[in-house]
C-alpha cells in the first residue's frame, strides 16, 4: 500500500508553511526531504505521522502504518537500553528486540542506563526503536544527528534492509545519508504563499 500525500498544506502556529505538497512513497522506496532550516520539513513529517491535522489536502495510507522518530526520541534515562526497547516492542505487539540491538551495534550497551549513553549512542537507540515497531512506513526527522560515519552506515544499512522487506521510508535531513536508492524531494518550491489559517481568516 502506498503512502500518498495529495495537495497537502501544513501549518505551524496556525500559519501554513508548506502548501500543495504531492508525493507518493511506494513499498520499497524511500523519499528524502530536503530544504533549508525553517522550510517546514518537521511540520510536514508530523502531519504525515498524524500528530497534527493537515491544513488542507489529505494523507492516505498512513493510518496505523507509521513509525515516527523525531528530534526527541522518547528515551527514558532511568531505564536500560533493553528495557527501553522492549517497552516499545511490547506496545507495538512485536516480540524481538535482538535484531534491532544487533543492527545498531547496541549489544555491548544492553544493560547500560539510557541516561549514561553518549549523544550518538542515544540516537542509535532511538533508531533501533523503529525496527521493533514492525511498522512498514518509517517517518524520520533528521535521523543521523550526532551519528558518526560508522553509525550513519549502520543506519543506511538498516533502511536498506527495511526497504528490501517491502517497507518504505520518508525522512528529512541536511546531510548526505549515503542512501543511493533514496529519491530526494526538495520542499523549497512548496513554500506556502502568505496565507492565514481558516480560523484567522474568519477575522479578516
Amino acid at each position: 500500500m502506498d503512502l500518498t500525500v495529495r495537495n497537502l498544506a501544513v501549518a505551524r502556529g496556525g500559519i501554513p508553511v508548506l502548501a500543495g505538497v504531492q508525493f507518493t512513497v511506494s513499498p520499497g522506496r524511500a523519499l528524502v526531504l530536503r530544504g533549508p532550516n525553517g522550510s517546514g520539513k518537521t511540520t510536514l513529517l508530523r502531519t504525515v505521522a498524524g500528530l497534527q491535522p493537515p491544513f488542507e489536502g489529505s494523507v492516505t495510507g498512513a493510518e496505523d502504518r507509521i513509525a515516527y522518530a523525531a528530534h526527541a526520541d522518547g528515551i527514558k534515562s532511568m531505564l536500560s537500553v533493553t528495557e527501553n526497547l522492549s517497552f516499545w516492542a511490547r506496545v507495538f505487539g512485536t516480540g524481538e528486540i535482538a535484531p534491532a540491538l544487533a543492527a545498531f551495534d547496541l549489544d555491548a550497551l544492553r544493560d547500560r542506563l539510557a541516561g549514561n549513553l553518549s549523544a550518538g549512542q542515544k540516537r542509535r537507540l532511538g533508531l533501533a526503536r523503529l525496527m521493533v515497531t514492525g511498522r512498514p512506513v518509517w517517518v524520520l526527522d533528521e535521523p543521523t544527528v550526532s551519528l558518526d560515519a560508522a553509525s550513519v552506515a549502520l543506519f543506511a544499512e538498516a533502511v536498506r534492509a527495511h526497504l528490501a522487506q517491502g517497507g518504505s521510508a520518508l525522512m528529512a535531513t541536511h546531510i548526505d545519508l549515503g542512501l543511493t536508492e533514496a529519491e530526494p524531494f526538495d520542499v523549497t518550491p512548496f513554500r506556502a504563499r502568505p496565507q492565514l489559517s481558516h480560523a484567522d481568516e474568519a477575522f479578516l
Partner: protein, 242 residues
C-alpha cells in the same frame, strides 16, 4: 437570516457597535436608579436595620455570578459543537466579569455578615459554594492565559468548563450535606409566601436589571476587544508572511 450570522466576527462587531451605546446608557441608568432608590429612598428593615440596603448590590451580583458561568457553559458548548469563534471568545470575555461579580457578592456578603451574624465569614453552604465558584473562575482564567494558541485554548477551556460545571454542581450538594447554614433562602421566587416586602422589591428589580445590562454590555465590549486583538494578530501574521 439565522441567529448564527452573529457568529461571524465582523457581523458581531457591527451589531454590537450599534447596541453598545444603548446598552451602556440603560445599564448605567438602571444601576443609578436602582441603587439610588435603594440607598436613599427605602426604609430600614425592622430586623436588619439599614444593612438591608446592601441587598441591592449583593443579590444582583450573586445572581450574575452564577448566570455568567451558565453563559460561559452555553458558549463553550456552542464552541465545541459548532466551532463558532465568537462564542469561544465570548466565553473568554465573560470569565473576568463573572469573577468580578463573584468577588462583589462575596465582599458584600462578608460585610453584611459582620453586623448580622457577628462574623465576616461562616462556612455556610451558600457562601462556600460561592467561594468554590470563584476558584473555578480562577482556574478557567488561568488556563486561558496559559495557552498561546487560541483554538487550543478555546478547546481546552470549554472542556474544563463542562467538567467544571458538573463538579460545581456536585460541590453544591456536597457542601449542603456538609453544613446546613445560616444564609437566607431564595425569597425572590414569586410563588413563595414569604417574599421580600414591595418597598425593597422594586428597587431590587431595577438594580438586578442594571447588573444584567452591565454584564451584557461588558461582555459585548470585551468580546469585541478579543475579536479585534485576534484580528490584529491575524493581520500581523499575514504581514510577516508577505
Amino acid at each position: 437570516m439565522s441567529f448564527w450570522e452573529y457568529a461571524n466576527p465582523v457581523k458581531f462587531i457591527r451589531t454590537t457597535d450599534r447596541l453598545l451605546p444603548w446598552l451602556s446608557v440603560t445599564a448605567v441608568l438602571c444601576l443609578a436608579v436602582g441603587l439610588i432608590w435603594g440607598f436613599f429612598f427605602t426604609p430600614d428593615d425592622f430586623r436588619q436595620g439599614s444593612t438591608v440596603k446592601i441587598i441591592y448590590l449583593h443579590v444582583p451580583s450573586a445572581l450574575m455570578a452564577i448566570n455568567a458561568w451558565l453563559m460561559m457553559l452555553v458558549a463553550s458548548i456552542i464552541w465545541i459543537v459548532r466551532r463558532h469563534h465568537v462564542s469561544a471568545l465570548a466565553a473568554r470575555a465573560a470569565a473576568p466579569v463573572g469573577a468580578m461579580m463573584t468577588v462583589i457578592a462575596l465582599a458584600t456578603g462578608a460585610i453584611w455578615g459582620q453586623p448580622m451574624w457577628g462574623t465576616w465569614w461562616v462556612w455556610d453552604p451558600r457562601l462556600t459554594s460561592f467561594l468554590i465558584l470563584f476558584l473555578f473562575y480562577l482556574g478557567y482564567i488561568a488556563l486561558w492565559s496559559a495557552i498561546e494558541d487560541d483554538d487550543t485554548a478555546a478547546d481546552l477551556t470549554s472542556i474544563l468548563c463542562l467538567v467544571g460545571s458538573v463538579f460545581a454542581l456536585l460541590s453544591r450538594y456536597a457542601v449542603l450535606f456538609w453544613n446546613q447554614g445560616l444564609h437566607q433562602g431564595a425569597s425572590l421566587s414569586l410563588d413563595k409566601e414569604e417574599n421580600v416586602h414591595d418597598v425593597f422589591y422594586f428597587p431590587l428589580l431595577v438594580s438586578i436589571a442594571g447588573f444584567v445590562l452591565l454584564f451584557i454590555a461588558l461582555v459585548f465590549l470585551r468580546t469585541q476587544t478579543e475579536i479585534r486583538a485576534r484580528r490584529a494578530r491575524a493581520l500581523q501574521a499575514r504581514e510577516r508572511l508577505a
